[in-house]
Structure formats: C-alpha cells, structure tokens
Symmetry: C2
Amino acid sequence: MTTDARGSSDAPIDDFYAVIPAGGAGTRLWPVSRSRSPKFLHDLTGSGRTLLQATVDRLTPLTGSAGVVLVTGDHHVAAARTQVPELREDAILAEPSPRDSMAAIGLAAAVLQQRHGDVVIGAFAADQVLSGQAAFEQAVREAVAAARAGYFVTVGIAASRPSTAFGYVRSGASLGVEGAPTAMHARGFTEKPDAETAREYLRSGEYRWNAGMFIVRTSVLLGHLAEQRPELHDGLREIAAAWDTEDRARVVADVWPGLERIAIDHAVAEPVAATGGVAVVPGTFGWDDVGDFNSLAALLPSADDGGSKVLGDPSDVIRVDSAGSVVVPAAGRLVAVLGLDDVVVVDTPDALLVTTRARAQQVKSVVDAVRARGLDELL
Amino acid sequence: MTTDARGSSDAPIDDFYAVIPAGGAGTRLWPVSRSRSPKFLHDLTGSGRTLLQATVDRLTPLTGSAGVVLVTGDHHVAAARTQVPELREDAILAEPSPRDSMAAIGLAAAVLQQRHGDVVIGAFAADQVLSGQAAFEQAVREAVAAARAGYFVTVGIAASRPSTAFGYVRSGASLGVEGAPTAMHARGFTEKPDAETAREYLRSGEYRWNAGMFIVRTSVLLGHLAEQRPELHDGLREIAAAWDTEDRARVVADVWPGLERIAIDHAVAEPVAATGGVAVVPGTFGWDDVGDFNSLAALLPSADDGGSKVLGDPSDVIRVDSAGSVVVPAAGRLVAVLGLDDVVVVDTPDALLVTTRARAQQVKSVVDAVRARGLDELL
C-alpha cells in the first residue's frame, strides 16, 4: 500500500461507509459556538478548515468520495452543503429535531442498509480534532476487520493524562481476528471519572479514552438495537424504508418525534459490552474533542514565549505580562491583556467572554445566565 | 448666606474667575480615554455629566456664569462647546499645541488680567471628581481670601489612605488671614512617595494630597512667573496683549511654539513655597483624580453584592463567581465574566482591554504597545 503526502493510503475500504453525526451545541465554547452556528461549523484550530470539513477530509480516503454520510439538524443542512459541497445531496440526512446519537446513527445505518445491503459503517463525531492520519486509518482498518467478524467496535485512545473530561473504555484479552492484530475485547465503559479514579485508570494501563467512534456492520447494529430498544429500532426501520421514496416527509413527520432520545453508548455499546460483543482497537493518533477553550488552547500554536494562544489574527492581540492566555479575537477589534495569566478572552461581534483556563469547563454557567436573561439571540 | 439643594451658596465671589486647564490624555483610562476624546470629555461616574461638565457645574456658583474660562487644545474646542454651551465664546482659550500647565494657566491669567485688571483666579483641572459642594465652596472662599492677601494658595485634601498615586503638600503654621481661618503656610510639596513614605506622611498629620488646585491673584502669579521663568512670562504677556485683537493668530503662531513646557508646580509653586509665599487650605470634600480604572471603580455604585462595578448599562454585564470586577460595556455588547475576581474589562467598539484592578496603573504599558504596533488610530 502506498501513502500520499498527508499519510493516506490510496485504497478505500470496500463496502465501508462513514457516518458523521453532527449535532451538539458546543455550549462550553460559547460565544464562538452558538445554537445556529455550532462548534462543528467553525475552524477551531486555525487550520483553515472547519471541524466538519476536517472530519470529511480525514474519512474520504477510507470510504471514497461517495462513502461519507452526514446526519445533522435540518437548520444546519444549508451551512453543511456550503462547507462540504463534495457530499452528494442524498448523503446528508436531515433530522427534524435532535433525538441524540442512537437515532442519528441508527437512521444512517438503516438507510445505508436499505441502499447498499449489509455494509460496515463507522460513526465519527463532526467536532473532534485528530492528528496522525496514517495511524487513524490503520485503526479504522483494524476496526472494520473486527466489525466484519461481528463485533461492535470502538476506538480507544491511549490516555496521555488522567483526564476527568472523557469517558473510558476498559480493554481485555486480544480479539484474535484476522486483519485486526491489536484489537481487544472491551470489558466495559465508564463515564467521566473523578480525578483519583482517572489516575488509577492511567496506572492500570487497561483504560483508554472512549473516542466515541463506533464501527459495526449495519445488520449487527440494527440487530442489537432490535434487542435493546425494539421501538426505536422499528421506528428507524420504518423511516429508512420510506427515506428514498416520496413518502419520506410524511413518515418522518409521523415517526421521528416519537423516537426515544438516547445515546448510542447507553442504548447499545454498554449492554452489548456486558455480553462480550464489543471490541476495542487502540488508537495511537492524537485526539481531542475540543470541549472547551482550555482544550482548544492545546491545539493552537504558541503566539509568544509565554505559551499564549490566539485563534485568529495574532496582530489583533496585545499581551503585556500575561502568560498562558487564550485569546479569540473574532470581532476584528484589538484585544489587549495586561497582567493576567491563563486568562481566556473570546471576543465576538455581539458577545464577549472573559474567564480563565481553569474555569473553561464551566462556561455553561454563563450560557445558563444568558438564557435566564432572555437573551436567546446570543445563544 | 443661604444654600440651594446641591449645597451651593447663592453668592458668587467678586472679581474671581475659574480657569479650567483641560489637557492630558488620561492614558491610564485607555481605551475609554483617547487622544481625540480624552478623559475630561467622558462621563466616568455614571452621573450623566462629563468630567468637564461637572467641573463647570461646580465652579459656576462661585464665579457666576461669565466667570469660567476653559483652556484646551484647539482640536477639543468643538467638543467642549457642545458639552458646555453656557461658556461664552471668548471664555474658551484654544492652545495650538500642548505646553503643560504653566503655559495654560499663565495664558489664562494674563488674558484675564488684560480684560479685567488684577483679579483672583482659581485653576481647577477638568478631570477630577469631587463630592461635597458646600465643603468645596468653603475651601475656595478661604483660598480666595488668602490669595487676596498675596499668597499663592493650594487646596490640600485630607488623606484617607497612604496613596502612592498623588503628590503631597506639607502644612505649617496658621496663616492668620481674615476670611481664611483654616489656611496654613505651606512648607513644601513632595512628588508621589513610595508606600513607606506615604504611611509616614499619613501618621504625621502634616501632609495632605495636593489636589492641583491653585488660587492666586493674577498679578501675584505673573510676578512670580516673571521672576522664575522670565522668557515664559514675557511670551505669555505678548500673546495675552494680542489675544482680543486681530493680531491674535499671528502672535500665537509666532510665540506659542517656543514657550517652555513646564508644570505650574515646578515653575512657581515649589520655588515660591521655599520662600514662604504659598498657603494651603484644607479641603474636607471628597476628591479623586480618576487616574485609572481602579480609582474609577471607587466612584461607581456597586452593581451586586460582590462589590462589582459597572460604568454603563448593568444589563449588558453577566458575572458568574466574579467579585470586585470593574466592567465598562461601552460597545453595546454583552460582557460575560466567569471566575475572575477584581478583573477590569473595558469594551469599546474598536478596542478591548482586560486587566486587573491591581494593574490598573500600568495601562500605559498597553498604550505604549499599541503605539509600537503603529495603531495610532486607536490612541
């Protein structure tokens, strides 16, 4: 296999489709991320590509250009078409209302099975940042091999610190599937741990960050769903059957609003792990979910010797005696910071946030206060 | 003597003129204060009146409506006329370029002597905030009495804390002048002291803050100036002689640029104090020079229980876990502060400053950085 300049092999995987569930408000990234313009529509790394564009870019080499499917809210479809015009019209599945990740990924699985028969899908969130394309592709190729053998496969990222912001997946014995030499049985998932538990996880060597990537055959996923959540399964099947017909609008309007809101983790991954049906493939690529302005900072190059970071034009920022600051000058104005270390300043045309890197995870409390003031146009 | 609702007596002082030197960039209040719109043109207390307007308001009861003279840069004349339309046209003296306070006050003294003969003038900076109108008027009335007896009179504010931001005046024996029962000889002036010296000043009871108010007969001031700085004196006399004639523009253009730049403190007050010619009248009114955003904070009402202050519309500010903050929402945008105590956020349409109350005196370093970037339009 040959690789191109960015580390992609040149051979897409047969009968493999990527599903990108693009939802989530990215509340902790307010006021950059808004309900009408959420996180995945923004370039948060200064790369020149939005998170959605970068996600499509990294998946296309694995699927071919016709193999990427986006599932997003219908009010984001226009922006998505503008950002990723290479997606075919029928490759964007519009949700009339948010029903969490099981409905989004299940809908894509059912529609793809309807269109292509029993294929392997990989679900990859639209708002993550990865580095190391070759390692990513290698992990997905192993995951697909394990999925073909019937497993519900996740990718577990080697934890570089005892993060309390991520969920973890615990690995067990080697899977022993051809084409997936590093794949292991998954012994279970855990929610975001406290700091002490996270340190124990790191010491044990058995826990990896759950990157929220799920690779599975459509028939396997829908089979698990039929067992675990039969009503949700039946509703999605009914919608999928009508999707590429003139009945779509009517059936979606009838069925979608009644679908259960549940994450794929709870609906399928956790119960199936308990009965041995989940595998984990170690991911050795760089990964971050860019959950807040502090994690965003880790992805930006330093703007000065003090480790300050700028998302935007560095010439819009003046720092005096301020180390480790994170500044987003998104309003075209000069931002001057004097005598504050580790401060976060996010400047947009209609709202300004000033906080600290340590408090970055609590930006939701500001968003709650904005909502309580009735300033919904700023959310 | 009767007093009105705001504490003014109803009798202006005979042959007394107030001179308001309105210069100074107010650099430490950037980005509110700019070279084209300096501090004195702004309402910095939320009172609805700018510092210049408030200064005229407080002096008019002492001088009568025709007795206030403003000396300011010619590029501020239009704004001044708009803000204080009650000033007669010839009551605004325009300086073609800044030549510091001796030239400004000396010019007013020479012009007023030319117009009215030997009168008493009181110089009061345009960018101070006072409270206690009755106490202010009482101090000025005593100062005028001492000035009529031939003294160069200053007002010394009872120091409420060992400030290192103000100069001090040291008082000596009682003056014993009729109409000025509290006036004392001034033993000398000191520049801004270090913290330990300031504490000693406060303990001694002999030192008061030098409020930069100078009350003196025009003949006395010009006499001292002729002795101390004869060239500056002669230049100002030459300009004053031409001021109300058609020769003004020509003479000003000839003479003004060559005038020495020196503060009245150094040119007259200090040398004259050394020979016993200066008196000090204690001022018991509230006084602040609003030098920076921290001192500004002291003048604003609290916006919440945490002692936070807002100069502007409090509904433009959201604070979460942020006590003691100072926010100036002057761009009409929402300003949200999370988890930062004693932070200063000054939001204007084209520039944003984020600093702390403790660093408020060092805002000049930001202004220097802005200038070094060549962003003169923001200064």
